[in-house]
Symmetry: C2
Subunit: 344 residues, 2 copies
């Protein structure tokens, strides 16, 4: 694992003083942090001493990306994807600033980065379900009846971690169950099977930039847009479609973080309003999308998805034309900052 | 739950004295047991006092089914499906006689039947993955981004339980990892998504007879057949295909049982030999099968699958012609013993 330290960037979108980093000091200090400041760039974000970080505010984003900065959302945690774009590392771990270190049932503090990297460096099994969960974990394996030809698995592109304490509920569920807490520690990592979509939460998420970075765009949402609080969902649907097409794996489960507080359900309801309707059409659409065989890179897949979004979703709302254009701009920016590596 | 007691039969295939029932006394005594004696019918199977049971040996099976008894395997735990056929109950729980009561991490003995019934009477969610696992469990729900139109779920047909201590490994894995024990208690129930097959183990399995009984045929395996130790796998592939087609759910995870001893890996290797090869072709075949829309009952689906097995798998081995014929005989026997209920 020591070898991995310089292959990981931790990306944190924020609007406030980063006191939460104190909780993570023993776990994050060995890594480089990319802090993406959302909202008013004249505000000062305080970062505790001793961390290795770069901080980018909106002025920085505009300066660095120029006209292509239009694809980075404002006043939405979607701005985190600017950090994905400018990172030079193989792996990204992104975490919200209201998430603290969780403890496992034995009381031990959980090193979320280490578990995510473990998930990413071991293969996934999207073509057949293993009933004892991740067969690459210690003490587990493939069960009787698992085809031997499938036991090498496929490279893992995404590791989706979970949350203890405050669960990631939508506004209606928050309103109905204000006191519900997530207390069940499920000691499992699961490959989400090929062809199955899932609600990817951006709170505690890691991925392999080289494999899936271009498809980890969190969309054009937030300020001035009719679509809010669906940035991670959008990235989840599209990155899963791309992973399925390219034969890459997506895992969910461990590691847990401690999610400290629920956001205001009334504010959330106002933000989610359109998304709650639209997801009923968007999800079946992305479930049925088939990418052409000619798409062999994440970039090509993503540009094809931009085309399909424009052609098929504009009838829901003209917003989706803007989204499709922003998706194209994102790939242009990605290619500018991540030119193909010269052959060795 | 009390209301369920007379809607459940527990089916146990065996060749020996059923001492293991002592461990289950508090949990199984309220239910009716169907004991299916495999092997030599002149042997006496001792059942501990105080259980409500019927015991059927091979002579009974031949007498009750007549010529259709040919579809019930001999010297293979597949004989358990005779019990499924003659039961009059809504739910079946089937368990192997080397499985004992397991304990949860708090040390409490696990009532496997109760957990299985809980899994079966709550819906499944095969169309979209819920990252907090079974949303119908206490303390859980659908997470943000889960479409509201899908939150009613679909009826659950199958509940696949797991094993502590001896994991269900194939012979090669047993040989390579003779000391591996399953010690991780994963506190989760998961719907296996639509379109995904899994290795269904018959050791600790429950299902809704009315919904999926006709597709829970464990095949013509064992004595005189070239296919052994794949009875549950075969039933798993086919029942999942039928569930997916009919819009029914399959859950896996809790409850655990304590699996006391591994069977002999050398004997297993000899038995599994053909299956280890064949599964490489059989699984992709069943993954790609599409049933016609006209098939609207489990029986119709199963007869269609019998036809497809005969047409497509005979090239692997002529055995699959015999299997296909036995599948048809099974449905004939099912219909004889389970005539359609008269309209109320």
């Amino acid at each position: 694992m020591a070898l991995m330290k310089d292959e990981v960037d931790i990306v944190i979108p924020t609007i406030r003083t980063l006191d939460f980093l104190e909780s993570w000091r023993p776990f994050f200090q060995p890594y480089h942090l990319i802090i993406v400041q959302d909202g008013d760039p004249s505000k000062t974000i305080k970062v505790p001493e001793g961390f290795d970080y770069d901080l980018y505010n909106r002025d920085d984003i505009n300066r660095i990306l120029g006209p292509k900065a239009s694809c980075i959302s404002y006043k939405e945690s979607a701005c985190r994807c600017f950090g994905f774009l400018i990172s030079k590392k193989k792996y990204i771990y992104t975490i919200d600033d209201d998430c603290f270190v969780a403890k496992d049932p034995s009381g031990k503090e959980i090193d979320a980065v280490e578990q995510h990297i473990q998930n990413l460096i071991t293969p996934s099994t999207p073509f057949f379900f293993n009933t004892l969960y991740d067969p690459y974990r210690e003490g587990a394996d493939f069960v009787r009846g698992y085809p031997f030809s499938m036991r090498s698995g496929v490279p893992t592109a995404v590791s989706h971690g979970l949350w203890l304490n405050i669960p990631d509920y939508d506004a209606p569920t928050q309103l109905v169950k204000p006191r519900e807490r997530s207390t069940r520690y499920v000691d499992a990592v699961i490959t989400i099977p090929k062809g199955t979509l899932y609600p990817m939460c951006g709170m505690n998420l890691a991925f392999d930039r080289e494999l899936i970075g271009p498809a980890m765009y969190f969309g054009l949402l937030g300020d001035g847009q009719p679509f809010k609080r669906y940035d991670d969902m959008l990235a989840g649907w599209l990155s899963k479609v791309v992973c399925d097409h390219l034969g890459l794996g997506v895992k969910t489960g461990l590691p847990y973080i401690w999610h400290s507080k629920a956001s205001d359900p009334f504010v959330n309801l106002k933000k989610e309003f359109n998304g709650l309707f639209w997801q009923e059409e968007l999800i079946p659409f992305f479930q049925s999308v088939v990418l052409p065989k000619e798409c062999t890179t994440a970039q090509q897949c993503y540009l094809e998805l931009a085309k399909l979004v424009k052609e098929n979703l504009a009838s829901i709302d003209p917003y989706f034309i803007r989204l499709a254009d922003a998706m194209v701009t994102w790939i242009e920016a990605w290619d500018e900052f991540n030119p193909p590596k010269p052959a060795a």
